[in-house]
Symmetry: C2
DNA sequence: TATGATTATCTAACACCGTTAGCAAAAGTA
DNA sequence: TACTTTTGCTAACGGTGTTAGATAATCATA
């Protein structure tokens, strides 16, 4: 029964080369430039072969979306693990998030629709929950120390995420507007303010 | 010489109807759905006529971009004028910005590339400066009162803008994720924290 | 080993998209 | 009326996502 296995291996090989090629195109010329025909050309197969592995173009984007969320979750987990102090954890997570956004720019753009139209399904990936919890944990701990019990962890989580995403996406759009150092200052400033505010 | 004037009026009429039609398409089916052919169909002219009035599709988007920045500037100015107190002004501006983003969703998406690829030229519109100054003014006044002279108004401006944009774009992407009331709470929370931080 | 079924793959098309060259008709001018 | 300018059109080019249907290769079985 090695025959069918070899076939599966070959089929998986084609699937992988589709993703590899797509990724290469995106890295070189951006998401706008990705097309099924370019992929087919590059893997030296005809167009319909691509559709044997992915229902449509969105399915390919979705695959990268999943990859992106996994990668981001791992990066944030690593950052979080470098400290036990919740406040420090939050700061590290913010740094890691920032770092991810610009070292893995293509992932970030796809995941959060920065300057591209991310596919509908991208919006409700289950993978999102993982990194939500990652931020919620140190945040809740900080709030627990706080005397003011009215503040909501869920609300604060959204505030945190919004600050991060706002900073990142604005920097991504207006590339040369501000120097990198200033941007990092803005991030640190915003997060410091946020954490201070959190501690009451 | 009334003939050439009538001609100009007619030509302007076609130009207007192009923009009107385009805007209608966008409002009904989003930016993704806008195409030159659809515009031409709707105004009952052939495709090249559209190109007599706009060099290309980007030029049409740019026109809407300008409109958007003008509208936003006016709204922010109105909001600012409702108070003399800088802190209150900032709060009102934030509210107005938020309100603009969701009542004029299509403009906002185009202007800040939320879930669409805004054209290159959109990034460096001179109209942007107007509303930058609008925020900088009360911000500087607040900082002037502050004893700590190290904080930078430019930096704080970016922080402000990032918080706003982050909140808005995340809400725009994950439509039903959070209730509207919570979102408004997050905004108020973030801006209150920001202003408090500003006052030292 | 020949036959039938399955799988892999391709060609060619459909319906869109932005954009433009070149021509016909209309309108204005002399 | 004859000439010039403007106006508008048809038809194409090259690109996109997607799919129907034919062909060639491979496999399983008689």
């Amino acid at each position: 029964m090695g025959i069918t296995e070899r076939r599966i291996r070959q089929k998986d090989g084609v699937r992988s080369s589709i993703l590899d090629t797509a990724w290469k195109i995106v890295r070189e010329d951006g998401w706008q430039s990705l097309s099924i025909r370019k992929i087919a050309d590059a893997i030296e197969y005809s167009v319909p072969v691509v559709y044997d592995h992915f229902e449509n173009k969105e399915a390919i984007l979705l695959e990268f979306g999943k990859q992106g969320y996994c990668l981001l979750s791992n990066r944030l987990q690593e950052a979080k693990d470098t400290s036990e102090d919740p406040a420090e954890q939050l700061q590290r997570i913010a740094d890691a998030y920032w770092h991810f956004a610009f070292t893995e720019k293509e992932y970030y753009q796809l995941m959060f629709g920065v300057n591209i139209s991310c596919c509908e399904t991208e919006k409700c990936l289950p993978e999102k929950e993982v990194f939500r919890n990652m931020v919620m944990d140190p945040l809740s701990k900080l709030l627990a120390k706080n005397q003011d019990k009215t503040v909501n962890a869920c609300l604060k989580y959204h505030t945190f995420w919004s600050i991060m995403h706002g900073l990142i996406s604005i920097k991504m759009l207006n590339n040369p507007d501000i120097a990198d150092e200033l941007n990092k200052l803005v991030l640190d400033d915003a997060i410091q303010g946020f954490i201070k505010n959190l501690q009451g």
